[in-house]
Structure formats: structure tokens, C-alpha cells
């Protein structure tokens, strides 16, 4: 076994595998150390990938040639495009995934990367020289040296599992927590906090009476995650739908004090968008029923994930309440639901590459940064993996901006604002939502990936061909103009205002389809259906995009004014002490980030810019 690597990744979860794959694509020799080799691609919770905001992240990962999108397409057993009837900017691809297939897909993606060595073992210590991390030590004493280390240990830092008043240490059901590593992190003096999350009981599908239940099928024309995938490979299935009853709520109410959360056993903060069934029944007391989706965990696995009833009740209460749910009258629980509490590192301690600011050679990615969700973890893994490799190679960092990607929105939110509850992506977090669409993730990011060097030749070529077709078609549609008369003749409802319009402009009319437009010019016939669909999607927003572009340009200008990491705010006497403190703690990397700090004033920004200019001039002189 090798003992020297460019990059060592700790943890083989969603962040870790994506990080290792990204580092390897960049040509870095990489070790992926994880507790058990079988960890790769394990979904701790819901067997589904994507959704609103999350689906955007998966598309962006794919655009940078990451592994999550392809794996989800391989494992998908039910594809649904959420918000299908709304505009493309808020449509999010989602798939129910077969756990086994997903693990297999991730494992084969990692094995396909020659530069990655998978090492089974527990990391118990980080090797340190001064303020530099230089490698990791495993429980068996093995030392792996690395130029850069990425820690992605998920919920394993001082993880505590709660079921009723029972508590045990664990990183996940069936896994030990990482305690020695947590102590090591303590030594670094990183700001830590405590969060919690929960998961529902897993049910035995053979003991469910499916005949009584509603059914939720997948879409007729499934939308894939990867820009390279065509159609689903696995057999497609439906999910069952049921709901809680008054009897369910009664049982929960009677036993509230036995719930770990309500019994006062948990101090960590949980996500508001992922409430336990205890929470739902208490906070929305007038709601008589809550919907539950019964999601198969796999094609050859009859374990069922009941989406909507996560809980930290004792096992006997869980048993009693699930049996009050239609279809589940005789159900057997295979694994009880539980809540887990864990340490996270305040991500404001990180820079925009997800490197720890106070140390050299250490990156953090995934749930350890206070996020929740596979997609959020994977996207951070990608950012950390790319940057660790680049740093190991002595190259410039790769930044992701709010103006260009959901990845950029997330990294910026985390590193400038921190988290108050487990952070999850929503489309509403992206102020440039209309331009950051799932459908154009490749146009936004693949060129960047090509420039960075993390995109394979095959994808580069496929993307090049697609882009060429798009550009030709766009040009064609923007060239000729048509009079209101001509437009009326093909049935388009426009005023006879004498204004000539291009075919492209016409596409932004809500009631004009691409097929209408084709009638205007025979040449349009050569535009292929895929290209037409893509152009129709961007044309809808044409009017808004121009306006957004102006805001984007402004923000970019401020982002371009970089504040070096060693910048001394103390040397600016006219800055208030309060702002000095905030700035020194948050360490914004650009004027744009500084402007987002609460309480920032125009004068303070002007002062910082002035000092930067002065320093620049000194450096030149």
C-alpha cells in the first residue's frame, strides 16, 4: 500500500466519495479512508436523490463530471420531475433509488478512478506540523501522509443515537461514533455546535396490505439527472400513499414525554423542514392527518421507508402507532426510527474553497459543516476535492459564485452566514433562480469544469456538440424579424403595433410554443427537438434575464475585489469596534461578501476598498 498521497479523504459518504472522485479527476493521487469499504454510497436516510434545489445541485455536480448524477440514474426506480407544470427554473428532478444499485454505482465509479486507493480503517488522529495538517493516522497505527486532507465524517463526531429514553453512542445505526477524532478537532479550537436529525422506522413490505393504499407512479417521460444519460436502466416502480389517523395522533400525544426530543434528552437543534411526527402532531394540532409515502428501498429489497413519520419514540410506541395507519395494521418494524445528535463545525471557520482558515492542509465537507442531505454533502465534497487537488498541485483555487450556481449559493451561505439549523438547499435561497436552472447547469458549469481540468474528454465532446447546435439555433431564431401580420397569420395573438419581432422574442410569450414558431420559417425545421426544448426554456425568461444580468454584473464587480486573508481590520482606525470584530471573525474574501455582513455600512466598505487600493499601490511600488 502507498503511504504518500496528494489528497487523503476521511469518510466514504456522499461528500467523501464525490471529493475523492473530483481530486482524482484533477490528477491528484488520492486515498479514501472509511470505516468499512461497504460505506461507499450508503444512504443513511431516505432512499431518494434530488428534489427542489437538491436536484439543481445534482445537475451541477454532473455538469462538473461528478459521480452522483450518473449513479442516481443507474439506481433510479422511480423518476419524477417536481413542479413539472411550473416554469423550468423551479423544476427539480427527483428519483427514488434502489439502495443496493446506488451503492454499486458509486463503488464502481470510485473503482473506475485509477488515482483513488480505498483504505478501510478508522482515522483516529491527524498528523500535524505546526499549523499544517500533513496526514492521518489510522486506528491500527498506519500513517498516511498527504499534502491536503479532507474530513467528511458526517454525523460521526460525538454522534449520539436516541430512541425514547435510550441513548447510545453511534455515528449512524450500527456504526461507532468517531470520538478520538472529535477530541482532535477540539484541539484545533474550531467552533463547534450541536445539531440533530431523525429518521423513521423501516417497515417489512411483506406485512403491508398494499391493496388498501393509494399509488404514486413515476413520470411517463422520466427526466434523468445526468446530461449524459438517456433513460432509466432499472425496472420502474410506484410508491404507496397512506396517512396518519386520529388514533395515531392520540398515541403520540399520550406518549410525548417518552419521546427523546420531548422528554428533554436532546439539546441539538433540528431542521424545521424535517419535523418528527411528534413535532407535526404537536405544532399542527388541528391537522387531522399527515400524508405518508411508502417508498421501497429497492427492487429486490422489501424494506419500506415510510416518508413522513420520523420519530424518536421508544420502540413499543413506534410499533403501536404505525399499526393505526391504514395498510399498516399488521406491519412489522425492521429497524426502529431514531434521532441522532452530532457535532458540527461552524462553517464560518472555512473559506470559499471549504478549507479551514486557521490551519493549512485541512478541508471540511458534508454534514460536518452543518448541512443535511446527500446532495448538499456531495456538492461540498466536489468543491473540497477540486480545491484540495489544485492546492496540492500548486494551482489557483476554484471558486463558485452565487451568480453562477447553487453550489456557489450554498458555499457562500455557509461560509458567510453560518447555520442555525441543519442547512438544506431550497430554490428560494438562490436570488438568481431564473438563470440558475437545472436545465442549463451544463451551460453554466461545464466550461468552467473544462477550464479547471475535471471534465473527461467524452463529456467535453458531447457538450461541445450540444453547445454548437444551441448557438446555431439561437442565431437563426434571432436573425429574421416578423410583422404583427405575419405573426397573426400563424395564429399568434399580438397587437397590430407595427413592431417587428424575432422568433426568439416570440418564444417568451406564454401561449406560443416552439411548434408555432416553426411555421414562420422553413429553415427552423432543422432545429432538433432537444435543442428546441432547451431554447424554449431560456426564452421564457428572456425579459427577466436581462434585468438579472445587470444585478449579476454588479455583484461580480464586488466579488472581483478580493480581500486577502491576512487583511488587518485593526489597522483601520475609523472602523467601529463592532464591525472590526465581525469582519475579523467572518473574514470575508471579497467586498461582495463583506457587504452581506449584517450591520455593514457604505462608509466601512469604502474604507476597506481604500485600504486595499493603497496596499496594491504599495505592492507595485
Amino acid at each position: 500500500m502507498k503511504h504518500h498521497f496528494d489528497v487523503v479523504v476521511i469518510g466514504g459518504g456522499h461528500a467523501g466519495t464525490e471529493a475523492a472522485a473530483a481530486a482524482a479527476r484533477m490528477g491528484a493521487t488520492t486515498a479514501l479512508v472509511t470505516l468499512r469499504e461497504a460505506d461507499l454510497g450508503v444512504m443513511s436516510c431516505n432512499p431518494a436523490i434530488g428534489g427542489l434545489g437538491k436536484g439543481h445541485l445534482v445537475r451541477e455536480i454532473d455538469a462538473l463530471d461528478g459521480i452522483m448524477g450518473v449513479a442516481a440514474d443507474q439506481a433510479g426506480i422511480q423518476f419524477r420531475l417536481l413542479n413539472r407544470r411550473k416554469g423550468p427554473a423551479v423544476q427539480g428532478p427527483r428519483a427514488q433509488a434502489d439502495r443496493t444499485l446506488y451503492r454499486a454505482a458509486i463503488q464502481s465509479a470510485i473503482r473506475g478512478q485509477k488515482a483513488v486507493d480505498v483504505v478501510q480503517g478508522e482515522v483516529v488522529d491527524l498528523i500535524q506540523a505546526g499549523d499544517r495538517v500533513e496526514g492521518v493516522q489510522l486506528a491500527d497505527g498506519t500513517v498516511l501522509r498527504a499534502r491536503e486532507v479532507i474530513l467528511t465524517s458526517g454525523t460521526f463526531l460525538r454522534g449520539v443515537i436516541h430512541i425514547g429514553n435510550e441513548r447510545r453512542n453511534g455515528g449512524r445505526m450500527g456504526d461507532k461514533p468517531s470520538i478520538r477524532l472529535a477530541e482532535r478537532i477540539d484541539d484545533f479550537g474550531l467552533p463547534l455546535g450541536r445539531l440533530k436529525t431523525g429518521t423513521p422506522p423501516r417497515l417489512d413490505g411483506k406485512t403491508i396490505d398494499w391493496s388498501k393504499l393509494g399509488e404514486q407512479p413515476g413520470d411517463d417521460d422520466p427526466v434523468m439527472f445526468s446530461f449524459l444519460s438517456g433513460k432509466p436502466v432499472a425496472r420502474q416502480i410506484s410508491c404507496g400513499i397512506t396517512a396518519t389517523t386520529a388514533a395515531t395522533h392520540d398515541i403520540i400525544r399520550q406518549n410525548l414525554d417518552r419521546s427523546a426530543m420531548y422528554g428533554g434528552h436532546i439539546e441539538g437543534v433540528g431542521p424545521r423542514y424535517c419535523p418528527s411526527i411528534e413535532d407535526k402532531v404537536t405544532r399542527f394540532a388541528d391537522k387531522e392527518s399527515h400524508q405518508i409515502f411508502l417508498e421501497p428501498e429497492g427492487l429486490d429489497d422489501d424494506t419500506i421507508y415510510p416518508n413522513g413519520i420520523s420519530t424518536s419514540m421508544p420502540v413499543d410506541v413506534q410499533k403501536a402507532y404505525v399499526r393505526t395507519i391504514p395498510g399498516l395494521e399488521a406491519v412489522q418494524i425492521r429497524q426502529p426510527g431514531y434521532a441522532i445528535e452530532y457535532d458540527y463545525v461552524d462553517p464560518r471557520a472555512l473559506d470559499r474553497t471549504l478549507a479551514v482558515r486557521s490551519l493549512r492542509g485541512l478541508f471540511l465537507a458534508g454534514q460536518i459543516n452543518g448541512t443535511t442531505g446527500y446532495e448538499e454533502a456531495a456538492a461540498q465534497g466536489l468543491v473540497a476535492g477540486l480545491n484540495a487537488a489544485r492546492r496540492a498541485q500548486g494551482r489557483e483555487p476554484a471558486f463558485f459564485e452565487r451568480t453562477e450556481s447553487y453550489i456557489g449559493v450554498m458555499v457562500d451561505d455557509l461560509t458567510t452566514r453560518g447555520v442555525a439549523e441543519p442547512y438544506r438547499m431550497f430554490t428560494s435561497r438562490a436570488e438568481f433562480r431564473l438563470s440558475l436552472r437545472a436545465d442549463n447547469a451544463d451551460q453554466r458549469l461545464t466550461p468552467k469544469g473544462i477550464a479547471l481540468g475535471c471534465v473527461s474528454e467524452a463529456r467535453r465532446r458531447a457538450f461541445g456538440r450540444k453547445l454548437e447546435k444551441l448557438e446555431t439555433a439561437r442565431e437563426m431564431l434571432q436573425q429574421g424579424t416578423f410583422t404583427p401580420n405575419q405573426l397573426q397569420s400563424i395564429g399568434v395573438n399580438v397587437n397590430s403595433d407595427g413592431v417587428r419581432r424575432t422568433a426568439y422574442q416570440l418564444l417568451s410569450f406564454p401561449d406560443v410554443s416552439f411548434d408555432d414558431v416553426r411555421m414562420l420559417d422553413e429553415a427552423f425545421a432543422e432545429i432538433e427537438p432537444d435543442t428546441a426544448t432547451q431554447i424554449a426554456k431560456e426564452a421564457i425568461y428572456a425579459n427577466y434575464l436581462a434585468r438579472q444580468q445587470r444585478d449579476v454584473d454588479l455583484l461580480k464587480k464586488d466579488e472581483a475585489v478580493a480581500i486577502p486573508s491576512g487583511f488587518s481590520y485593526d489597522a483601520l482606525p475609523s472602523l467601529s469596534n463592532e464591525l472590526k470584530g465581525k469582519l475579523s471573525r467572518t473574514r470575508p474574501e471579497s467586498i461582495a461578501q463583506a457587504a452581506r455582513i449584517e450591520g455593514m455600512t457604505p462608509a466601512a466598505l469604502a474604507l476597506i476598498v481604500a485600504r486595499l487600493r493603497q496596499d496594491e499601490r504599495r505592492a507595485i511600488a
Partner: protein, 426 residues
């Protein structure tokens, strides 16, 4: 990049108003207002005209080329006669030009900095100024929001937050237990806000205010000589003056030109406790009008004025000095009246330029833009849930414009509202 403009002369100084325009289209301002571009760095006298060709003012126009101006960009300065109405009209005219907007606080300095026109020491010297500029603007915004208005703004804020949360809930939680069509509630909420804003806009109109004039209330105990003074100022028998206390039962208004400012003088009923029901109504009305006026002139005699304490911005004069002697004012002989007029004028000029103008114009622009986005949002609601992402975009654009009034509504607050209203999360 936008071309920005603002009133650059120090607030409170009457006589001259300097409006500075900076940015790539600054010359457009010359073309549009002055009918051409004077030579660089040479003061030239021009007639400024409104969009219809009417003359706004005779002004000095100064043009600076990029690289040689304060900001380093193309700059045009208009040196106007300091009348509030004129400054107001010119600001408004500029705001209507394509690519022009009112400068943010500190924005001229920021641009100067970016273009290498200033060094750190200069900025430090200016920093306090910029901050106090911001601070006073914030205070003015708050001042404008006193009492009833601030309660109304609070309601707009809640309504807008609720509306945008409803829209976002249907977008970000589409696969969950949330309503699909929230149009009726969103429409009701946004309509209330737009109507409120539009009503406010007509009241906030500073130009209108300057045209109709400031209200100055004369208050004091019965028979302090308020009406006599008013008559003297007005030069005609506007208010009934008599020796019997309590003659002025209602509020009497006299409009006059006071040193170029339109002023309405209010003669309030003498403030005193009374058993006469009719008079009590008069006293009450007088008190209310006096409180709402822009300035109060208190006439004091040895009788104290019940229930009225002069505020820090009010003027206080001793009355009837023709009878009692000493410093003060007399409406009978005219003694001390010029000093009183000067004092009133100075206070009003201060108010006009300082409190009103810039921030009111800023607010007017923000409110107008905000309302137009809200109208667009309401229009989009007709297309139903399929276009909610556009509806929401318009509401968010409106919010950005209205931040000066409503305060910043953050995505966390939107999410907070969603999580407290709907049981989302599986």
C-alpha cells in the same frame, strides 16, 4: 453601469443647490435638461427645461470629463437656485431619464475610490460624513414613519412577507402538503399593500408639499395676540380680532409667501380649559392642527398655555411687547416681526432641504418602483400557479426596492413563515 445623481450641496444651506450627476450617461442629462453640452470645466449659464419644454431654472452647468472629475467618471453639475421646488423638479426630471437613478449613500465616494481618485486618508476624512449621511437618512426614514404610518408599514411588511411565503411554499414544497393555488390570498395581500403605497405616495410627494406650502401654527393662550399677529403678517383682516378671549373658535388659515416659501399660517383657537362645548371643540381642533403643522410659533404671556409644551424645534416669542415691553413681538406695532419672520424662514428652509427633499425623493422613487413590481405580480397571478416563479420574482424585486421602508426581508424569514404556517417535511 447606472448613471447616478444626488443633491450634493450641504443640506440646510439655502441660496444654492448643487445636483451632481456621474456615470457613463451624464452627458444625456446635459442634452435633456440644458439642451446641449457645454465645454468641459467651464461654467456656463443655461436654461434647464422639463420634458415638455417648460423652464425649470436658470442654472450654472459644469461638465467634467472622465478622469478629471471627483468620481473619475463623466460628471455634470447643475448649480441651481436653492428653491426646494426647483431642486425637487430637477431631481425628478433626472430620475425619469433612461439609465439614471438616485445615488446610494456613499456611492459617489465609492466610485471615486474605485477609479483611483481618492486615497485612504481622504476616505477616512469622508467616512464619518458618509456614515452620518446614512444615519440621517435612516433617521429620516424612521421620522417619516412615525405613528400611524409606521403601523401601516408594519402591516405592509407582514402582508408582503406572507404573500411571498405562500408563493415560495408552493414552489419549494411542491411535493408536500401545501395548497396548490394560493392566488386569492396572495392577490388580497398584495392589493392591500399596493393600495396603501399608492395612497402614501400622493402624501409623500414633496413637490406637492412645497407647492401647497408648509403649515405654521401660531399658538398661545387666549388673547395672546395671535390673531393680531396673523393679521399683521397677512396685511389684511383675515382673522377676527377682538378683545374678548375665545373669539377664534375654529382654525383660520392664511396663505402667504414668506421669503420665497409658500406658507400657510394657522391661527388656532386660544388654548385654554373651557366649559363652553362649542369652544371646547374649537380648542381641540386647534390643538390637533397645531400638532400636525410643520412648525409651531408659541406666543407666551404671563398666562401659561394649558396642556402645551413647546417642542425643541418650536419657536417661542414673548407676545404683546407693545404693552409689556422687553424682547419679543407685537402684532399691533410690528415690533420684532422681521426677526420672527427670519426665524420661521430659517427653520422651514432647514426642514425643506434637510428632512424632506432627498430622502422623500428617494422614497418616492422606491415606492413607485415597488408599486409597479407589485402591479406586475398581481397581473401575473391571473395566469395561476404555473407562473408562480415569475410572480414571486416580481414580489422579490418589489421587496428590494421597498427595503428602505420595510426593512430587509431575508430568505430565512420567508422560510420561517412557511415552516410556521405549513406542516412541511417528510
Amino acid at each position: 453601469m447606472d448613471t447616478i445623481f444626488a443633491l450634493a450641496s450641504a443640506p440646510g444651506k439655502a441660496g444654492l443647490g448643487v445636483i451632481r450627476v456621474s456615470g457613463p450617461r451624464a452627458d444625456d442629462a446635459c442634452d435633456a435638461l440644458a439642451g446641449g453640452r457645454p465645454e468641459y470645466r467651464r461654467a456656463s449659464l443655461r436654461r434647464l427645461r422639463d420634458a415638455e419644454g417648460g423652464v425649470l431654472d436658470e442654472a450654472l452647468v459644469l461638465r467634467f470629463d472622465a478622469g478629471k472629475s471627483f468620481t473619475g467618471e463623466e460628471v455634470v453639475e447643475f448649480h441651481l437656485h436653492g428653491s426646494v421646488a426647483i431642486i425637487q423638479a430637477v431631481l425628478r426630471r433626472l430620475g425619469a431619464l433612461d439609465g439614471f437613478r438616485m445615488a446610494e449613500p456613499g456611492e459617489f465616494t465609492r466610485r471615486a475610490l474605485e477609479n483611483g481618485r481618492m486615497d485612504l486618508t481622504q476616505v477616512e476624512a469622508l467616512a464619518d460624513l458618509i456614515d452620518s449621511e446614512t444615519e440621517s437618512q435612516r433617521r429620516q426614514a424612521l421620522d417619516l414613519l412615525s405613528g400611524a404610518l409606521s403601523a401601516r408599514v408594519g402591516r405592509w411588511r407582514d402582508a408582503t412577507l406572507r404573500a411571498v411565503s405562500l408563493l415560495e411554499a408552493t414552489i419549494d414544497f411542491a411535493d408536500e402538503d401545501v395548497p396548490v393555488d394560493v392566488s386569492p390570498e396572495v392577490r388580497a395581500l398584495l392589493t392591500e399593500v399596493v393600495e396603501g403605497i399608492e395612497a402614501e405616495l400622493s402624501g409623500l410627494d414633496a413637490a406637492e408639499r412645497v407647492r401647497t406650502g408648509f403649515q405654521v401654527a401660531i399658538i398661545g393662550p387666549p388673547n395672546a395676540g395671535k390673531s393680531t399677529l396673523l393679521n399683521y403678517l397677512a396685511g389684511r383682516e383675515a382673522a377676527i380680532t377682538s378683545e374678548i378671549a375665545g373669539t377664534t373658535r375654529d382654525v383660520i388659515e392664511v396663505r402667504m409667501d414668506l421669503g420665497g416659501l409658500a406658507v400657510t399660517l394657522l391661527d388656532t383657537a386660544g388654548l385654554r380649559e373651557t366649559d363652553d362645548a362649542v369652544e371646547r371643540i374649537g380648542v381641540q381642533r386647534g390643538r390637533e392642527r397645531a400638532e400636525a403643522a410643520d412648525l409651531r410659533v408659541h406666543l407666551v404671556t404671563e398666562d401659561i398655555t394649558p396642556g402645551v409644551v413647546p417642542g425643541p424645534d418650536d419657536l417661542v416669542f414673548r407676545a404683546k411687547i407693545d404693552l409689556v415691553g422687553g424682547e419679543g413681538v407685537s402684532g399691533t406695532t410690528g415690533q420684532g416681526v422681521p426677526a420672527l419672520v427670519d426665524a420661521v424662514k430659517a427653520r422651514l428652509m432647514d426642514k425643506a432641504v434637510q428632512a424632506g427633499l432627498a430622502s422623500r425623493e428617494r422614497h418616492r422613487l422606491a415606492l413607485t418602483a415597488g408599486a409597479s413590481h407589485l402591479h406586475a405580480a398581481i397581473g401575473l397571478l391571473d395566469s395561476g400557479a404555473d407562473l408562480y416563479e415569475l410572480t414571486s420574482e416580481e414580489v422579490r424585486l418589489a421587496l428590494r426596492r421597498l427595503e428602505a421602508l420595510l426593512g430587509h426581508i431575508d430568505v430565512e424569514q420567508i422560510l420561517g413563515e412557511i415552516f410556521s404556517s405549513f406542516c412541511v417535511g417528510k
